[in-house]
C-alpha cells in the first residue's frame, strides 16, 4: 500500500474540485431549459446516496482500494477481471475529460493549435504530478481550491455588476412539468459528475483518520450542488434557456458578455484558467487511480514507466475516442451513461456491497 496520507480538508477540496471538474463549463441539465436549476439542485441528493454506498463498501475494507477488495469479495480471477475493467474505465473517463478540456481550448483560444499538442502538454504536467505522489497532489488541491474559489467569486461578482442578469428568463417554472427534469437527472446528471465519485473508493484508504469521511463527503457534495445551482441559474438569467441549449460552452459565452466600464472585459482567460485547473485535477485523479490500480493488480512497485505508459494511453485515446466533438458529446449523453456509467457506478458497487454484507453475515454465523 502507498503510505501517502491525506486529511479531511484535503479530501473535501479534492471532492469539490473533482465534482466541479468539467461540470462548471458544460451545460448541465440544459435539456430541461429554464428548469435546469431544478435538475442541479436535485441531483446532489442522488449523489449523496451514491456516495453513501461507496462509503459502506469502504467501511468493509478500510485499508484497501476498490481494485483490491473486489478480489477479496469475488475471488481472485473474477475479482482481477473486474478490477482490470475498472482500470480501463478510469482511463476511458480520464480521456473523456481530457477531450472536454481540449475541445474547449481549441473551440476558442487555440483554433489553430492541434488537439494533440494540448493533450501532450497536459499529460506531461500530469505525469509529473503522479510522479510526486498523491500526498503532494492533495496538498496542491488546497491551493487550487483557493484559486478556484476566488476566480469563481470574481466571475460571479462581475456578472452581477455588469447588469447582465435578467431574472425573467427563469420563468415560467416547470412549464413542461417534471418529466424533462427527471429525464435530465437520470441518468446523465446523476452519473456526471456525482457517479464519478467511484474513484474515491480508490482514495479513501489513503485517509489519515477514518472518521468523519461521510460527513466531509456529504458537505462537499452539498457545496457543489449549491454552487452548480447558482451557476446554472446565473447562466439561464444571462443567456436565456434558448442560447443555453444551443451553446457548446455556455460559461464561455456568458463571460464574453461581461463588460464593465469599458475596462473589465474579455475575461475568457479566467474561464480558461479554471477549465485547465479543474480539468487537471479531474484527469489527474483518474490518472492516479488508474496507476495505483495497475500497480496493485500487477504487483508492481510505483515506477515511472507505468505513469508514462498510462499518460500516453490517456493522451492518445482522448483523441481516438471520437472523431469529432459532436460525436464525443453524443457518446457522452446517449451511450456512455447507459452502458458504462450505470454498470460501473451503480450496478457493480451495489452488487459488491450486497455480496460483501452476505459474506460477512455468513462468516459471523460460522464463528
Amino acid at each position: 500500500m502507498p503510505k501517502d496520507k491525506i486529511d479531511g480538508l484535503q479530501l473535501f477540496c479534492l471532492i469539490v474540485l473533482f465534482l466541479f471538474g468539467t461540470a462548471v463549463f458544460l451545460d448541465l441539465g440544459s435539456g430541461a431549459r429554464q428548469d435546469a436549476w431544478i435538475v442541479t439542485i436535485l441531483s446532489p441528493i442522488a449523489g449523496l446516496i451514491i456516495f453513501a454506498v461507496y462509503y459502506r463498501l469502504y467501511r468493509q475494507h478500510p485499508d484497501l482500494p476498490l481494485t483490491e477488495y473486489v478480489k477479496k469479495i469475488l475471488g481472485k480471477y473474477l475479482g482481477s477481471l473486474i478490477s482490470y475493467m475498472y482500470i480501463i474505465y478510469f482511463i476511458y473517463i480520464a480521456s473523456r475529460v481530457l477531450r472536454d478540456v481540449e475541445e474547449l481550448l481549441i473551440s476558442s483560444p487555440y483554433a489553430k493549435t492541434s488537439i494533440i499538442t494540448l493533450g501532450i502538454c497536459m499529460v506531461f504536467a500530469l505525469v509529473y504530478a503522479v510522479h510526486l505522489g498523491f500526498e503532494v497532489f492533495a496538498r496542491a488541491g488546497i491551493i487550487c481550491f483557493a484559486i478556484m474559489t476566488v476566480t469563481l467569486l470574481l466571475i460571479l461578482i462581475f456578472y452581477v455588476i455588469s447588469d447582465l442578469i435578467h431574472l425573467e428568463n427563469l420563468r415560467p417554472v416547470l412549464a413542461k412539468g417534471w418529466k424533462p427534469v427527471f429525464r435530465e437527472i437520470f441518468p446523465v446528471n446523476m452519473t456526471v459528475p456525482y457517479g464519478e465519485l467511484i474513484i474515491f473508493t480508490m482514495i479513501l484508504p489513503l485517509m489519515k483518520r477514518k472518521t468523519k469521511i461521510l460527513k466531509t463527503g456529504s458537505m462537499a457534495i452539498a457545496y457543489v450542488g449549491i454552487y452548480l445551482t447558482i451557476n446554472i441559474m446565473l447562466l439561464i438569467c444571462i443567456l436565456g434557456a434558448d442560447l443555453l441549449e444551443r451553446s457548446a460552452f455556455p460559461a464561455l459565452a456568458a463571460v464574453g458578455y461581461i463588460q464593465i466600464g469599458g475596462f473589465i472585459q474579455r475575461l475568457d482567460p479566467l474561464i480558461i484558467l479554471l477549465i485547465v485547473f479543474l480539468g487537471f485535477i479531474k484527469v489527474g485523479l483518474f490518472f492516479y487511480c488508474a496507476v495505483i490500480g495497475m500497480n496493485n493488480l500487477f504487483k508492481m512497485k510505483p515506477n515511472v514507466f507505468t505513469s508514462y505508459f498510462m499518460g500516453g494511453i490517456i493522451c492518445i485515446s482522448s483523441i481516438m475516442i471520437a472523431p469529432s466533438y459532436q460525436s464525443h458529446l453524443d457518446e457522452g449523453l446517449k451511450v456512455v451513461p447507459y452502458f458504462l456509467h450505470i454498470a460501473f457506478q451503480f450496478a457493480i458497487p451495489a452488487a459488491l456491497l450486497v455480496l460483501a454484507s452476505i459474506q460477512r453475515k455468513w462468516k459471523q454465523g460460522k464463528v
Binding site: M122, A125, A129, V136, I142, I143, F263, I272
Partner: protein, 477 residues
Amino acid sequence: MFRKHYRHHKKLSKSIASNIEYLKEQFGNSSDLSVRNIFLSNHGKAAIIHIQGIVDEQSLHDNVLHPILAWSHEQKPIQNWSREIAQILSVSKVNTIDEWSEIVSGLLSGDTVILIEGHSEAILAGTGKIQSRTITEPSTQTVVKGPKDGFTENLGTNISLIRARIQNNNLRIEQTKVGKVTKTDIGILYMEGIAKEEIIKEVKERICKIDMDSILDTNYVEEALKDNRKTIFPLFQNSERPDVVAANLLEGKITIIIQGTPFALILPAFFIQFFQSPEDYYANYLVSSFLRLIRVGSFYVNMYASAIYLALITHHHGLIPTTLMVTLMAQREQVPFPAIVELLVMELAFEVLREAGIRMPRAIGPAVSIVGALILGQAAVEAGFVSAAIVIIVATTAISSFTLPNPNIVNAARGMRFILIFAAAFIGFYGIILFSLCIILHLCSLKSVGVPYLTPLSPVRVSGLKDSLVRIGTSSK
C-alpha cells in the same frame, strides 16, 4: 596531504626541542608561527608558541607572558607545574593537553601553547582574538524603522547580539566544528521548549553528517542540509539581522550561525516567510499587511509579467482591449525581430546590467545606469529595435524584484520567469497555467527539514494563517 597530518593521535615528547621541531614541521615552517624560547629560573627551558595575527597580543603579554615570568622568579618547589601555571594565567580558558592534534587545532584558533622542558604536556591558553569589524547596519534587509545592528563575521559577537535580545536561560547554544580542513565553528541556537525536539534532532544529525572540506558561508551548510537538492526555491532563510533571528527563535525555529559570515541560517523556512520583512512587525498591522500584499504581488509580477505579455501579443490578441491593441501594433510595426526574441534579448540585457551594477566599482555605478537607461531604453526604442512596451514590461519586472526582502526568492522567480516565457511563447496561457500548476505541485512537494514548505497554506494551519499573506494584529488582552 594536509589531511594525513591531522589524522594522527601522537603524543608530545618530553624534549622541548623535539616538540618545537615537530610543530614547525607540522606548520611547514610557516612564518607566522611565533616561537619564543624563555628560561624559567625555577624550571629550566620553556617555550611560548602562538600564531601571529590571530592572538590578542595585549592579552598574550599581560595575561600569559607576564605572569609566567613573574612566577618563575618565585623560588618555590613545584609539585604540579601545569596546575600552577593554570592558576596564575589570567585568561579565561586554560587547558592541559598532551595530544598533538588538539594542540595544532588550538593554535589555529588563536590559543597560545606553553611547553616546558621535561614534560610531555602542554598548556593551552585562550588568547584568541580573531580580527573582525565592528557592528554596523546590515547591508541587506534594511529597514526604515527598527533595530539597526547587524551580525558581523564573528560567531561570538553574533551570539552576544542574540543573547542581548533573548535574556532567557532556555536559549540553547550548541557549538561544534564542521569542515575537515577549515574546522569552522558553527553554533546551533534554539529555544528549549518552543522548538520541536524532532526537528532539533534532525538538524543535529544532518550537521554531523556534513562531509565537506570547507565551510566558508552559510550556503555551504544550506546545501548540505537541503531535503531536496533539485530545487530553485530557497529552503532556508538567511538573515543578517539579530532581531529577525531572535523573532524566529521565539517562534520555535532553529538558527545556525557560522564563524566567518554575517548571515545566519534560519530553519525550517516556509515559502510565506520570504515575503515577510522585519519591518512588518514594527509598523501598524494594517499598513504592514498592505505592504506584504504588495510584496507578494510584486513577486508574481516579477515572475509572470513578461510571460503574460508575451502570451497576449503572440497568442491571445483577442484579449487585449482594442485601443491598446492598436497602440501595441503601431509600436511593433518597425521591429524586425519576433516578440520572443525581443523579450529574451531585453531580459538578458537587464540581467547583464544588474550583474554589472553589482561588480562595478561604486564610483562609476551612475555612469552605467545612465548608459543602460539611455542606450538600452531610449535609443533601442527610437531605433526601432525593440518596442516601447517591452521596455516597460522588463522595467516593471526589474523594479518589482527589488521589493522582496530576500534575494534568494527573487532568484527563484527569475529562473521560473525564463521558463514561463518559453511556455508562453510555445502555447500561450495554456502553457503558463500548466507550468504554474507544476510549480504549485513542486512547491507542495518541498520540505524544509521535514516540514512542508507551504505551511501554513497547505497543509492549512489556522494559527499560521494569521501571520501569512496579511498580518492580523495581536490583541493585547
